[in-house]
């Protein structure tokens, strides 16, 4: 993994005096979150594990430099998304069909499992970059500017991709259960 010659915004050298974490601490702390982002990018938990492992393995030798950046998270997120996109470019995409994730005891049963499976199918209909935009904007909650920095494109491009992606997904049955209803409270952000 090569650092850009000119650091993009968010990839500036750190200004804080706090000692940045060592690689193991950083990677272990980010692992669940990165895995979930990769899951939404790939649609498959196995592929997600591979993608995050490879991304972190590339980060490992570069960590002495990356840890000094202002936002190592932005760098890692960018690497994750680019590694995923390069899988498509190199046509090395491994396709996998898997039974649906088993229902967890605390979850809401088969209907919810069905909805989640539907959502992954819906995401799978988007082109890879558009899917990345949707995940960055609506799962990672990045601004258009931040998403543009991750993808190396203009905020306007992110805006149009997000709009197109949203238009494709809004009428998909996958989102029906999650439509806002009168009196329904917005759940607290429980993202892991």
């Amino acid at each position: 993994m090569r650092l850009p010659e000119r650091a993009a915004p968010g990839l500036r050298p750190a200004r804080t005096e706090l000692a940045p974490p060592d690689f193991e601490t950083f990677a272990a702390a980010r692992w669940p979150r990165l895995l979930r982002t990769a899951y939404l990018l790939t649609g498959d938990h196995h592929e997600a594990e591979d993608l995050v492992q490879v991304t972190l393995a590339k980060l490992f030798p570069a960590w002495p430099r990356v840890r000094g950046l202002d936002e190592p998270d932005a760098y890692v997120r960018r690497a994750l998304v680019n590694n995923n996109l390069s899988r498509f470019r190199k046509r090395r995409v491994v396709q996998l069909l898997t039974p649906r994730l088993p229902e967890r005891a605390q979850e809401g049963g088969a209907a919810r499992t069905e909805e989640r499976s539907l959502l992954l199918e819906a995401l799978g209909t988007l082109p890879p970059r558009q899917r990345a935009v949707v995940v960055l904007r609506y799962w990672e909650d990045l601004s258009e500017q931040q998403a543009a920095e991750v993808l190396g494109c203009s905020p306007g491009n992110v805006k149009s991709q997000a709009s197109r992606g949203l238009r494709k997904l809004r009428d998909h049955p996958a989102l029906a259960e999650f439509q806002p209803r009168p009196g329904r409270e917005e759940p607290a952000d429980e993202r892991p």
Partner: protein, 244 residues
């Protein structure tokens, strides 16, 4: 980011999508962080990159020395061209498959016997592909990739993300790999693609590891087409799992 405006169709759709993404991603149970594996992969990447830089320089130096030392071949070329028709060219050599794709006639042929391998033992399955079975994961390496296949891609078989008693199927190029997880003793696996039934070679660990993998060679399956059908049975022919 603009402030959401509930009631606007786009904002409602965005809010719905956010909820749906949270619910879906939250469903995933992350396995423990594989620290040792990431470190190993990282170190291997460094070694490979150094080798990739060093080898071309060394080869260039040797070729230059040879070109100077050798007499010119008839026709003016310093070195003979590789005979591409002879199959021993400089490129990767095709390796015969251990479980070649065959036309469907399953009942006429004996089933390939289950191959029991040691944990961590790399198993060459042909065409430059290597599988390694472990107690908690199955790893795959494509040695035809640049650098000889630097990275294993490993799948956890114990993280609970694939239910017990089920089978999944993975394809990379022509390689089809069913993965059965469950208490049964898988002995037969078939993958049906476009009406063609392939018998997969089953690999397992000694004892009862709770899973088994198979491999077979198709003709570059795309899952965008008809969904492949996978069946896993034990030695008596009792169905253990099927997909879809």
């Amino acid at each position: 980011m603009n402030a959401p405006d509930p009631g606007r169709p786009e904002d409602d759709a965005a809010a719905s999508l956010r909820r749906a993404l949270r619910a879906t991603a939250g469903e995933l149970a992350p396995p423990p962080y594989p620290a040792e594996r990431v470190r190993r992969l990282g170190r291997r990447r460094v070694r490979t990159r150094r080798a990739l830089v060093a080898v071309p320089a060394a080869v260039a130096a040797v070729l230059a020395a040879v070109a100077i030392a050798l007499p010119q071949w008839p026709g003016g070329e310093g070195l003979p061209a590789a005979d591409s028709a002879g199959g021993e060219a400089l490129g990767p050599r095709a390796t015969p498959s251990l479980a070649p794709a065959q036309p469907a006639a399953p009942s006429a042929r004996p089933w390939p016997s289950v191959r029991t391998v040691g944990a961590g033992e790399p198993v060459e399955i042909g065409r430059g592909q290597v599988l390694t079975l472990g107690a908690d994961q199955v790893c795959h390496r494509d040695t035809t990739e640049p650098g000889g296949g630097v990275e294993d891609t490993c799948k956890s078989v114990s993280d609970g993300n694939q239910a017990a008693g089920s089978v999944s199927i993975q394809s990379s190029g022509a390689l089809l790999r069913p993965l059965y997880i469950g208490p049964g003793r898988a002995a037969r696996m078939t993958v049906e693609v476009d009406g063609e039934v392939l018998r997969a070679q089953v690999l397992t660990l000694e004892g009862n590891p709770g899973y088994a993998v198979g491999y077979a060679w198709g003709s570059g399956v795309s899952f965008d087409g008809p969904t492949p059908k996978v069946r896993v049975s034990d030695a008596e022919g009792k169905l253990l799992a099927e997909f879809p």
